[in-house]
């Protein structure tokens, strides 16, 4: 016979606030949705290590009969992986670094100095966020053509150098928020010690904002890596980044193999896709914390 107290205890164990039923539902939901989320990636990976006979075999849905790495070899050759990767990094890392530096300086100036016309500057920065690049990319195309930097990496690097790169507006606002909440007492004491505003920026502002810098740089890097619309316009058809090669994979494949009519199969295309997301995946695996917590720590969500 069970006394009431014990029955209540059991009931609480199953249904209470942190009861086991609630836990099972919670973890079940998180795992199911997580699996659905990763489903395309898992599918892509298992397919990429299948050979032709596995691909057409209706019995083989998920697990290949053997590990077949030839697809990756083909992918590496078609993408000209080594040299394309270097070029991709040139139009990704360099603008990301420069953009981070300039947007931080801009955010700092807006946060720390009561510059005249600050409201107008803010309005203009917001405008650059709301106005899609597509609206003004054509004159930029013409301008770069006249400068002679069209179809070179400079067409991506220059705008980033002057705070007009990919999502620059977001980064300026992130840095503005971050520098605004930095205690002014530190700046004041440095000023009393005789430091000029630029020294204060480099010696106090920058080091204290290190997490914001890291997050901004990582986001900037990933967004530049994944950007194809503007870069395909400015870089033209001779200079391909990895992403652009993936976009034109069929023609690249024909070019590399010298055979005009063979179609690639999805295993090769998936292998190539994995090769292309690999660099960012590695960065994410190592720096995951800085991506996810960056949004929190930088106070983007602040009032």
């Amino acid at each position: 016979m069970m006394d009431l107290n014990r029955r209540m205890k059991i009931r609480r164990f199953f249904l209470g606030k942190d009861g086991i039923v609630g836990k099972i539902v919670l973890y079940g939901l998180l795992l199911t949705i997580g699996f659905v989320y990763l489903f395309p990636l898992i599918k892509m990976f298992t397919t990429s290590i299948m050979d032709l006979s596995d691909l057409v075999n209706p019995v083989v849905e998920w697990i290949p009969t053997k590990l077949y790495l030839e697809n990756y070899r083909t992918g590496l050759i078609v993408l000209k992986y080594g040299s394309t990767l270097l070029f991709s990094l040139a139009v990704t890392l360099v603008p990301a670094l420069l953009q981070t530096a300039v947007t931080s300086l801009t955010g700092y100036a807006l946060a720390k100095f009561k510059v005249r016309g600050r409201r107008i500057v803010f309005a203009l920065i917001l405008l650059t966020y709301l106005l899609p690049q597509q609206v003004y990319m054509i004159p930029k195309f013409v301008l770069f053509d006249q400068f002679g930097i069209l179809k070179t990496a400079w067409s991506i690097i220059f705008p980033a150098t002057f705070g007009q790169g990919l999502s620059s507006a977001i980064f300026i606002l992130i840095f503005y928020q971050f520098f605004r909440i930095q205690p002014p007492a530190l700046d004041e004491s440095a000023e009393i010690d005789g430091a000029n505003p630029y020294q204060i920026f480099f010696r106090i502002g920058v080091p204290l904002a290190a997490p914001a810098y890291l997050s901004a740089f990582l986001f900037s890097f990933v967004w530049y890596w994944n950007e194809t619309y503007i870069s395909s316009l400015f870089l033209g058809t001779d200079l391909y980044t990895l992403q652009l090669k993936l976009f034109n994979f069929q023609s690249q494949f024909n070019l590399a193999t010298g055979i005009a009519q063979t179609a690639t199969n999805e295993a090769i295309r998936y292998a190539a896709t994995i090769l292309i997301i690999l660099p960012v995946l590695v960065v994410y695996a190592v720096m995951q914390k800085w991506f996810v917590e960056g949004i929190d720590k930088t106070g983007v969500t602040g009032e």
Binding site: L26, L29, L30, I33, G34, Y37, L38, P40, M44, T47, V102, T103, L105, T106, Y108, A109, F113, K114, V115, L130, P132, Q133, Q134, V135, Y136, M137, I138, P139, K140, V142, L143, Q146, P159, F162, G163, Q164, I172, V222, W225, N226, E227, T228, Y229, Q243, L246, F247, R269, Y270, T273, I276, L281, V283, Y284, Q288, F291, V292, I295, D296, V300, T301
Partner: protein, 298 residues
């Protein structure tokens, strides 16, 4: 220190600080003038002109509203307008899905759970890899569809039930469900950040007063998220609008180099696109504020 000195010094300092501030803003200001403001004005001028770019340089001839007229009367124009309409429908279906999904995931991740970092990392992963070509590859091979959707005949059901104009976007939603969910990574983090600002004791107080989890969610959680919903919706719409696989912006680029259209026509439809986007944003934000006011009254 005498009286006048005390007044003059801060003024002088203010002036100096203004100069220092502007010296730091200089790179941005230069970039804004050259790479943004000048192109915006030129783009508007192009949209009213016939633009020819060749070896000899660029020739811009004013033609009035000709390009805009062409946008509403030529085949290329119709194709573009159709894609803008499709985009508006896409927003109508995808933005609520993305927003609601992001809120649900954020609430789940905000519980006291083990492996929180691990789950958060999974839900944010798509943001890292979702480029146009990658999504393209996944969608073209059908990897973006949940297998169940096809097996259960959901697509057939949709095609039979709805008028073709509606069935297409709805079927598209199911067809690319995973990819749509992939667009909610940043929004999930935004909502988590907002949730963490809510004081836990508010929930405890509500519980003591007899509120269940359902009431707590609608009376405490949702009001606290109201502002972030607006931010998230604007972010989502702009994200969808500028995604490289969006047909509307592909029309803008392909018409740049098409024989019968060119830079002038492309500039014109780019501006039309901007107006449409501004309208969509305005309607979305307006609807949210109206909804918020109605909620507040009840």
């Amino acid at each position: 220190m005498n009286e006048s000195g005390r007044i003059r010094r801060p003024l002088k300092r203010e002036k100096r600080m203004n100069l220092v501030g502007w010296s730091m803003l200089l790179p941005w200001a230069f970039g804004f003038l050259v790479f943004t403001l000048y192109p915006i004005l030129s783009s508007f001028r192009y949209s009213l002109s016939e633009v020819i770019l060749d070896g000899a340089g660029i020739r811009v001839t004013f033609v009035g509203l000709e390009n805009y007229r062409a946008a509403f009367s030529s085949a290329a124009g119709f194709a573009f307008l159709q894609s803008v309409l499709d985009f508006a429908l896409e927003v109508l279906f995808k933005v609520p899905i993305i927003t609601v999904f992001a809120i649900i995931i954020a609430v789940l991740l905000n519980q006291k759970i083990k492996l929180r970092g691990f789950f958060r990392a999974i839900y944010f992963l798509p943001v890292i890899i979702a480029s146009g070509p990658v999504i393209n590859q996944l969608a073209s091979q059908g990897a973006a569809t949940i297998p169940l959707v096809e097996q259960m005949g959901i697509l057939d059901f949709i095609n039979r039930t709805f008028a073709p104009a509606l069935a297409r976007p709805i079927a598209g939603v199911f067809d690319e469900l995973i990819v749509i969910l992939w667009f909610s990574g940043v929004q999930i983090l935004l909502f988590i950040a907002a949730l963490q600002k809510i004081d836990r004791s508010v929930y405890e107080a509500a519980m003591i007063d007899g509120a269940g989890p359902w009431e707590s969610f609608w009376k405490i959680t949702m009001p606290a998220l109201a502002m972030m919903v607006r931010v998230s919706v604007v972010f989502t719409i702009i994200n969808l609008a500028t995604f490289s696989e969006n047909p509307a912006i592909q029309h803008i680029r392909s018409n740049m180099f098409a024989l019968e259209t060119g830079f002038g026509f492309s500039s014109a439809i780019a501006w039309i696109y901007f107006v449409a986007l501004a309208l969509i944003l305005g309607i979305a934000v307006g609807a949210l504020s109206a909804f918020g006011r109605k909620k507040a009254r009840t």
